[in-house]
């Protein structure tokens, strides 16, 4: 019924106009959906990727010769620690920056009955935000629990024969008297990287075990932005706080820009092709329209309208159509982009009113160029020949 109604109205006077309008709405709608997506995909995809670990590491600028020697030989100088002053400075430097998550790390070498272990103390909440992708068997550490809890890397667990809910006995190595601590294993970590070889505890537990307090080895930061923006943030930190080195982790950042560029390229090409096809469809209909209106044009010419006036009439019609079609297309595109982004990123799109004039401009230009052929045909009409038959 609806289709019949629509087609009836198409069959009446402005049949051609409506067809052109539909073509332009479909074309600009698709294009505006893709343009919306084009602007969003960068930010959304980066935000999505930022959930996979830190992209900036802050470490002390100087290194120290190994101070803890447990019969281990070191292959390089051991880093110094960040003290409370440096941490404060870092906090201030980051205060007004877009940082998604950050967490401190404090490393030291611990000793279990069987072997030396790398112990990492961290702020569990931040660590968890930074590494939501970690494959964990069991659960995360509750920092307030007593006895203190720990998580062990898969390799550590395999080597020492540890399993969930067992106790891990650690000897406090730096205090003068040999004291033993019992940690409850609440989770097993598997990442395929260094974490597999480490024991993770809450920061206060780590300080208690090592007999130190208020110092950390590094801070991992998850900053939003492109590779160069992160690079700038690193420079900002180094300039603000002395004695710090901020190192962007390039592995993900560099490559993500590259992959995103490919995806955006593809979208641009699709937008271009869609617009070309829309223009061709509009061209067909517009040519038909001129054919139907040739008597009208002939009459105008007979009454003294010049080529300029006739072209102006047609162009004005195109601009009118373009404005209406572009507006509706923009709205349809917005709806489509909304659906697409819900499906892709489970988030809503950012409204971009500044795209509306762009879309309308595209629609008008498209229609005007599509009508060039039709207008030329109209200008060729010989009024005398055509009107003779009346």
């Amino acid at each position: 019924m609806l289709l019949t109604l629509v087609l009836r109205s198409i069959l009446r006077r402005k049949a051609r106009m409506l067809t052109v309008l539909i073509a332009i709405i479909v074309g600009t709608g698709m294009a505006s959906a893709l343009i919306n997506l084009y602007y969003d995909v960068d930010l959304k995809m980066r935000r999505e990727l930022r959930t996979f670990g830190a992209n900036l590491i802050v470490v002390p600028a100087d290194t120290a010769t190994p101070s803890v020697d447990h019969g281990l030989s070191s292959a390089g100088d051991v880093p110094a620690f960040l003290d409370a002053k440096a941490i404060m400075g870092l906090e201030q430097a980051l205060a007004d920056r877009s940082v998604q998550a950050k967490t401190p790390y404090y490393y030291f070498v611990g000793k279990s009955a069987a072997s030396y272990l790398t112990i990492v103390g961290s702020e569990i909440g931040g660590l968890r935000r930074l590494n939501a992708w970690w494959k964990i068997e069991g659960r995360w550490i509750d920092a307030a629990a007593d006895p203190p809890q720990c998580m062990v890397g898969r390799h550590v667990a395999n080597q020492l024969g540890l399993s969930l809910d067992q106790a891990l006995i650690l000897k406090a190595t730096s205090s003068s008297q040999e004291q033993e601590y019992s940690l409850r294993i609440v989770g097993l970590i598997e990442t395929g990287a260094a974490e597999d070889n480490q024991v993770l505890v809450a920061l206060p537990t780590a300080w208690k075990l090592s007999g130190e307090t208020g110092i950390i080895s590094s801070v991992a930061i998850n900053a939003l932005g492109t590779a160069s923006e992160v690079e700038h943030l690193a420079q900002h930190i180094e300039a603000q706080v002395s004695g710090l080195r901020a190192k962007p982790l390039r592995q993900i950042a560099q490559s993500e820009g590259w992959v995103l560029a490919k995806i955006k390229w593809m979208m641009l090409i699709t937008i271009g092709v869609i617009l070309i096809i829309t223009a061709i469809c509009a061209m067909t209909t517009l040519a038909a329209m001129v054919l139907e209106r040739r008597k009208e044009v002939a009459l105008m010419k007979a009454l003294g309208a010049g080529n300029f006036k006739i072209s102006r009439l047609f162009m004005a019609e195109m601009v009118g159509l373009g404005a209406v079609g572009g507006l509706i297309g923009y709205l349809c595109g917005l709806g489509m982009a909304f659906l697409l982004e819900q499906r892709l990123f489970h988030s809503t799109i950012a409204l971009r009113p500044e795209l509306l004039p762009l879309i309308i401009l595209i629609a008008c230009l498209l229609l005007m160029s599509a009508s060039l052929l039709a207008v030329r045909r109209a200008l060729d009409i010989q009024p005398a020949v055509l009107l003779k038959g009346e």
Binding site: G27, F108, Y116, T118, Q159, A193, V273, I277, A288
Partner: protein, 427 residues
């Protein structure tokens, strides 16, 4: 009679048909391009994603726990397990060999620099040509696997025993430039080795590599007296994002499920088969890279699929509307046919068969155009070609014919109700 009408219609009314034809042609070309692209985008993007670095790590079974503070590695007390370098060629000979994009072995030893400080010396393949069983060579190493490294100077050749790449942090601390020479000392169990090495390049990675020195694997094996041994292997494989099946425990799979799992390039099944092929090793996915890759891959595939399907829809609409325009234009023709006694069925047959012929041939041409389009798109975006997909041809032809018929049938229904006397009067 019927065929004469058709023939004459194509001969005389070529112009409006040309417009419809062009629309169908372009539409089916675009759809062919997008569909061929969609079918391969997973593979193509997957290859791009190899830029994120290794996604699997191979370690010898029973390797002792390394002790490290941040990036700083303590040397384990016992020199324990290694992987035989000669075995590594098997990686490119197993079932998933085509999915293995690159790999690099590592052997790390602590060396002393001139000023008495120590640093890790990493022996690796830079771009080592590996001769496979079928006689082909496969060049691989860190150059392929660590695309984010930036090198000032030059890469080291794999047969060059006198050159090193030096991490940026060491270069900065010791004020070493490209072209300088460094002296290193290493005491292995039998002898003290001293060697003068040329700094071929300075390496910047942002990771622990900035504090390391890289040399050819054979050289490091020689001075450490660990010939033919490597400590770990990083490997970059083309994988399929994990789905419900991949997350299932292997031991709880039914035989059918197990076969399907074994024959799909999940990161888990590739790891499993690497372990089978190499024996006495542990193969672990590097979760961070795997997760990033599968997140991008699934999002991109979905994005392309959504773009393709919406484009398909709008193309169908555009082509159908163009077709109906031209049919509407010919209502006088239809009125004339009616006036001289053609039944509605006759007219419908003429117009629909016309539309089908047009749809078929233009769809065919469009398919040809689309194959070129896909080739060009593949070259522009990924620098590799997209293969010809003949399986798409029937699909494209069907949708072209269907769209043209749809575009024709709606206005035909309207036009048939037109009174010939009235319509002919308008002329």
């Amino acid at each position: 009679m019927f065929f004469r009408i058709l023939k004459e219609s194509f001969r005389r009314g070529a112009k409006p048909k040309a417009m419809v034809g062009i629309a169908i042609l372009l539409g089916s070309a675009l759809i062919t391009t997008l569909l061929s692209f969609t079918m391969e985008v997973g593979d193509k993007i997957g290859r791009e994603l190899a830029r994120f670095g290794a996604n699997l790590v191979i370690t010898p079974q029973g390797a002792s726990l390394p002790v490290s503070i941040g990036d700083f590695q303590y040397q384990p007390l016992s020199h324990d397990a290694f992987i035989g370098e000669a075995k590594l060629v098997r990686i490119k000979e197993m079932f998933w060999r085509h999915n293995i994009l690159a790999f690099a072995p590592y052997l790390i030893i602590p060396i002393q620099l001139e000023d008495g400080s120590t640093a890790p010396l990493v022996g690796t393949w830079f771009n080592n040509p590996l001769v496979l069983r079928d006689g082909q060579t496969f060049a691989t190493g860190v150059q392929a696997i660590c695309s984010w490294w930036s090198i000032t100077g030059q890469w080291v050749k794999d047969n060059d025993d006198e050159a090193v790449l030096i991490g940026e942090d060491i270069a900065r601390a010791k004020k070493i430039k490209v072209g300088d020479f460094i002296n290193i000392h290493y005491a292995n169990k039998r002898e003290d080795v001293s060697q003068r090495l040329r700094v071929e390049g300075v390496l910047r990675s942002g990771g622990e590599e900035d504090k390391q020195i890289f040399a050819a694997l054979s050289f490091v094996q020689k001075i450490s007296n660990l010939n033919g041994k490597v400590r770990k292997v990083h490997l970059s494989a083309l994988t399929k994002p994990d789905d419900a099946l991949a997350r299932k425990d292997v031991k709880q799979m039914s035989p059918a499920e197990y076969d399907r799992w074994y024959c799909s390039p999940y990161v888990g099944s590739i790891a499993f088969q690497l372990k089978e092929a190499l024996a006495d090793v542990d193969v672990k996915p590097i979760r961070q890279v795997v997760e990033v890759q599968s997140s991008i891959l699934s999002k991109t595939t979905l994005l392309v699929l959504l773009i393709t399907s919406t484009t398909l829809l709008s193309m169908g609409l555009a082509v159908a509307s163009t077709t109906s325009t031209t049919i509407l234009q010919r209502r006088h023709e239809m009125a004339l046919m009616k006036a001289i006694g053609a039944s509605n069925g006759d007219i419908i047959a003429v117009f629909l068969i016309e539309a089908a012929i047009l749809g078929f041939f233009c769809g065919m041409l469009g398919f040809g155009g689309g194959v070129f389009g896909a080739y060009w798109l593949g070259q522009t975006i990924f620098g590799t070609s997209i293969q010809l997909k003949l399986a798409l041809l029937p699909l494209i032809l069907m949708s072209a014919v269907f769209t043209t018929l749809l575009g024709s049938s709606v206005p035909l229904r309207m036009v048939l109700r037109v009174d010939p006397a009235q319509a002919l009067h308008e002329i």
